[in-house]
């Protein structure tokens, strides 16, 4: 196949880099940012399918009231595992994979700053998820207390909790090492002339995300370690009988948890900020304001955590503070949405699949942002908390937000990775199929929540039947539609129309100056960057 020959050409072309092991060893010992990036992305895709299968178990059970398919205990394990797999297994590794592939290419670096650590960061993950998933087969079953692992419930399950916590530690270590590597790369490896304010926004958003990761993943590690010692070593951090306080866990968890949701979305903002200018054939509007908006969102994300726990009983002053602080986040977020729209204004736009996903992101993510604002209103939150309204909110921001952006990124850069164009027609079908069914899946959940259907339950009152059926149908259609995505990628890896170096007519930036497929080693001699090559120039200045 043509693909194999290109791969060979690259190998021989780069043979001054010592020889490369082949077969499995090539991947196990790889320190190359492109290979590691590919492994991250493949891993993430597998986890996306595993987590998706769990979601379909949930939706199948909820198709009708009553208990049909699974027992409540297993249902709870599915909701918990689905969330853990999707957040830590699908979305986060996908972003890290994209960073591995693209950050060095975008800043003109030959590789990541710490290639060996990069190998470790990746290879920890399969072990972490094996540990996590195998708890499902243990006598006490997997974790069933929700992905937030609130005590006392999480401490009342079986001994498999120890495996879950160890898995979370490993995922945390992997993320922290990945984040350190990304920051070290961005701060130390930029090509001459690539000043901070010439960096593409994907690089900027990842830089800020990496700081968030280093700041909060250790806090999560601390929280779950306290759970571990409470459960197995007789401490009483969260055990009221021993002088502890379960509400303390919620504070520590959400101190991690809210920045975490921004870890899941900031790189998506970066991706969309790359794609919209390309297909509008204009530079990004308000580049500097995008950078500052990202930084302020990251800062604000540290002072809003208690909006997840308004109902624990807080003094009025605290509720007001957290309510207003949460609402303030809408301001920099609004700046971003404004800038994306202004970038498209009077651009000569075309609508290839990456652009479609990016536009889908802008519209649907905004719906999730608006339901977030509704949830931030304290008296409304008392009504909506722990209902399907919250479920609808976070799926709009995470599926039509983070996942749509990741898919946009895959379509956008796939020609650069494989050297082939993907099948545009199938890509468009994938987009429209996903967009229609994802709304059928999640929009009715807003109404279910407003009508009072609680989240994390296997059975429900009969008046919720119709909307649950609609939602389940949407879920199955959306879910099976993703097999098309897998097929499109497979087809594109195998062959297809040859991609040029620039790939997209309007694309700017260093990654489009190297051939497609990008050879294993790029920018061994650093390129020189000036304003003419820089992706972004603030149109306001």
């Amino acid at each position: 196949m043509s693909h194999e020959t290109t791969a060979h050409n690259n190998d021989s072309h780069d043979d001054h880099h010592a020889h490369h092991p082949t077969g499995l060893a090539r991947w196990v010992f790889s320190t190359n940012h492109k290979e590691i990036g590919t492994m991250y992305l493949v891993f993430s895709l597998i986890m996306f399918l595993v987590g998706g299968a769990m979601a379909l178990v949930i939706r199948a059970e909820l198709f009708a009231p009553g208990l049909q398919l699974v027992n409540p205990e297993f249902f709870n394990q599915m909701t918990t595992m689905h969330a853990l797999v999707m957040i830590f297994g699908a979305v986060m590794p996908a972003f890290v994979g994209l960073a591995n592939w693209m950050v060095p290419l975008m800043i003109g670096a030959p590789d990541m700053a710490l290639p060996r650590m990069n190998n470790w960061s990746f290879w920890i993950l399969p072990f972490a998820f094996t540990l996590l998933l195998m708890t499902l087969f243990m006598p006490s079953g997997g974790p069933a207390s929700g992905w937030t692992l609130y005590p006392p419930l999480s401490l009342q399950g079986g001994n498999s909790l120890a495996f879950v916590i160890l898995a979370i530690h490993l995922m945390g270590i992997s993320s922290i090492m990945g984040a350190i590597n990304i920051i070290a790369t961005i701060l130390n490896m930029r090509a001459p002339g690539m000043t901070l304010l010439r960096m593409p926004l994907f690089v900027w958003t990842w830089l800020i995300t990496a700081f968030l990761l280093i700041a909060v993943m250790p806090v999560l590690a601390g929280a779950v370690t306290m759970l571990l010692t409470d459960r197995f070593f007789g401490t009483s951090f969260f055990n009221a009988a021993g002088g502890g306080d379960p509400v303390l866990y919620q504070h520590i968890f959400w101190f991690f948890g809210h920045p975490e949701v921004y870890i899941l979305i900031l790189p998506a903002f970066g991706i969309v900020s790359e794609i919209i200018p390309t297909f509008s054939r204009k530079r990004l509007f308000g580049y500097t304001s995008m950078v500052y908006a990202t930084a302020s969102i990251a800062f604000l994300s540290f002072i809003v955590w208690a909006h997840h726990m308004f109902t624990v009983g807080m003094p009025l002053g605290a509720m007001l503070f957290f309510m207003y602080a949460t609402m303030v986040i809408a301001v920099p977020t609004g700046v971003k949405i404004f800038n994306w729209i202004a970038t498209m204004w009077r651009g000569s736009m075309t609508f290839e699949t990456p652009m479609l996903f990016a536009l889908g992101f802008v519209v649907l993510f905004t719906i999730g942002g608006l339901s977030g604002l509704m949830l931030a209103i304290v008296p409304a939150n008392f009504q909506y908390h722990d209902t399907y309204f919250v479920v609808a909110h976070f799926h709009y921001v995470l599926v039509t937000g983070a996942v749509f952006a990741i898919m946009a990124a895959v379509y956008y850069w796939l020609p650069k990775w494989t050297g082939h164009m993907y099948n545009e027609k199938l890509g468009k079908i994938h987009f429209w199929w996903s967009t229609i069914w994802v709304n059928v899946l999640f929009f009715p959940q807003h109404y279910l929540g407003l009508a009072g259907m609680p989240r994390r339950i296997p059975d429900y009152a009969v008046q919720f039947t119709e909307f649950n059926m609609i939602s389940s149908i949407g879920g199955f259609m959306y879910g099976f539609g993703q097999l098309l995505f897998v097929y499109i990628i497979w087809q594109c890896v195998r062959g297809g129309e040859k991609a040029t170096a620039q790939v997209w007519e309007g694309a700017r930036g260093l990654e489009w100056t190297v051939p497609s497929p990008a050879p294993l080693h790029t920018f061994d001699t650093p390129p020189v960057v000036d304003d003419s090559v820089a992706v972004h120039k603030d149109e306001l200045t």
Binding site: A109, P110, A113, L114, I176, A179, I180, I183, A184, T185, L187, N188, M189, A191, P192, I214, A215, V216, M217, P218, V219, L220, A221, G222, A223, M226, G234, F237, A240, A241, G242, G243, D245, V247, L248, H251, I252, F255, G313, M314, P315, A318, D524, T525, P526
Partner: protein, 186 residues
Amino acid sequence: MTASTRKKPWQTVIGLTMMAVAMFGFGYLLVPLYDKFCEITGIGGRTADGPVQVELSDEINYDRKVRVQFVSTVNSGLPWRFEPTQRFMDVHPGKLYETMYVAYNRADHPVIAQAVPSVSPGRASLFFNKTECFCFTEQLLGAGESRDMPVRFVVDPNLPERVELVTLSYIIYKNDEATAVLAAVN
């Protein structure tokens, strides 16, 4: 490789690693911070862990009446009945009062339990002083044993004017370890 323009990353890496370690410590630091914060502000209805010394010579405010409600909850792991003998009392700030909770062990073996108090509204908790309480120590009841357990308290005359109703609530939990040790000894 033309490394001259590319800096060595080690300083960055060491700095960032230290930041990660510090944040792990910060997670643990949140525990005492949270406790102190609740103690100072009264958030969460915390009250002192031991008897409070009050000057009973303090003037008693006979013009003011505050209603104190008594509430109890038994954690599902504890085979006890546990209830206040009075639902409420109307008290004068500054005066010492006593009330009883009654506990009964339904199990066929001795059980050790710990009661955890909480006062609401939170801002009243700083002005609710217990001079004696069964919650200061663990409680042991033999199989089928029943006992009256006293609480003595004074409402501080400085209790904000707006507060007219104070609720004293106890949740009582089984102390699993202590109970197990007891079973092993017997």
